[in-house]
Symmetry: C2
Amino acid sequence: MESHKKQECAAEIDQSRRKLLVGGGVLAAGAALAHFGGMVNSAHALGCATEKWPWPYVKLDPAATAEIAYNEWYRVFCGAAVINSVFGQLREKVGAPYDTFPADAFVFLEGGQVGWGTICGSPAGANIVANCIIGPRIAGDAAGHHIAEEIMQWYSEASMPVFTPKSPRISDELIKTTADSPLCHVSVGKWMKAANKPIGSAERKDRCARVAASTAYRLVELLNDWKDGKYKPKATHAAVRDFGITAQMNCMECHSGNVPTPPMAAKK
Amino acid sequence: MESHKKQECAAEIDQSRRKLLVGGGVLAAGAALAHFGGMVNSAHALGCATEKWPWPYVKLDPAATAEIAYNEWYRVFCGAAVINSVFGQLREKVGAPYDTFPADAFVFLEGGQVGWGTICGSPAGANIVANCIIGPRIAGDAAGHHIAEEIMQWYSEASMPVFTPKSPRISDELIKTTADSPLCHVSVGKWMKAANKPIGSAERKDRCARVAASTAYRLVELLNDWKDGKYKPKATHAAVRDFGITAQMNCMECHSGNVPTPPMAAKK
């Protein structure tokens, strides 16, 4: 992730500031939020019974959650599988407000949103779970926002799939690839190339089911830390701060040798 | 959108089949679904009170909804603004199940998910709304899936922002750009370049607020057609069918001259 060279991005990166901030995730994240949109009031303009945060959370077993996500993938695909793997257990253990969240509606997250290859449904689902439980940053606790940042970075850097279910539908070992991106198109494309398997193959499907399981596992680890009061933001990628635009970290992978420079604010 | 040349993508596109299907959206979409993951049973493994579809919907005024989305952007940013612009009105007019949906939790959709520049929060929010109201395709009615496909394509092709609010915070006329992508990074980047405005500028913020408003307007038009029984799928982009991978339509924009060929299933 940090291997991109300085010249890869034409945005005016203040490298010394970046190095300083990389060591201090909380400060870095706070600075990024302030730069991007600013903190706003949490006054509810519309009001909703489930918009009181945090939602009650009991710690879950990461491996058991991953097994649920793996199996749910074959019913509702990546995004809804991750959501159901957590919310399904909490419906049983806690009840409200989990019993009114329409998790199955999120099947459309499949294929990077109805097959468009944008964000992989697994991190998209994980981000929903973290932010429904902890609440949005505008409600006062930015931990859900930070967990989403961390899920995006972890997903991009992980050798995927990380998790192997107890009784996988594909018994052969699956090749692992690193996406360097949270995008479905990039993630599944690199895996398909390495594995030489088409999108419709049983192996590709099982790979994606395991990616959902891996993401659910990591999500529950982070939520359990948060529940224990031990969660500390660790994501270092903050594109608006570093590049002056919302972005992933490896500009050259899409831009080749011609990375545009975004208009920047005047130096004060 | 259709201007990409045949040689832009190395996937084995069956052009004659594509042309045939472009004229018949329903058939095309059905074929794409079958190719990507297949239809699955809608049996609820976990069960939830709000997972009975469709949710009760009353037709809304597109312009009034867009005005709400525009103003909500300044409180909760793009994704939650689109969700609240529709669900906020339906909480008032209908009540349950809209009164238990935690729309404000979706602030994290900002900046293409916590600033990573993946899917723009406006179509991400619209896709959530359509699929919560109509239900996932696995529950029997694929209209929510098709509306999401159409929102993605419409967003990519539109000269944005389409909608101008009655009392905009920026009184100067804003430049319009076509993203050719549903990605935040690409959409906001092209606009910033054309307008020569940085990400933190008041103009960029108002542009994004108007993009949310424009998307809410289009979403309500589609939902009203669906409510009237007049909705017919019109999206023509089906990447898995045409390219053998989840993707947007203009491969060359990121891949330059070196578009990889995904592994394809053997011809039968």
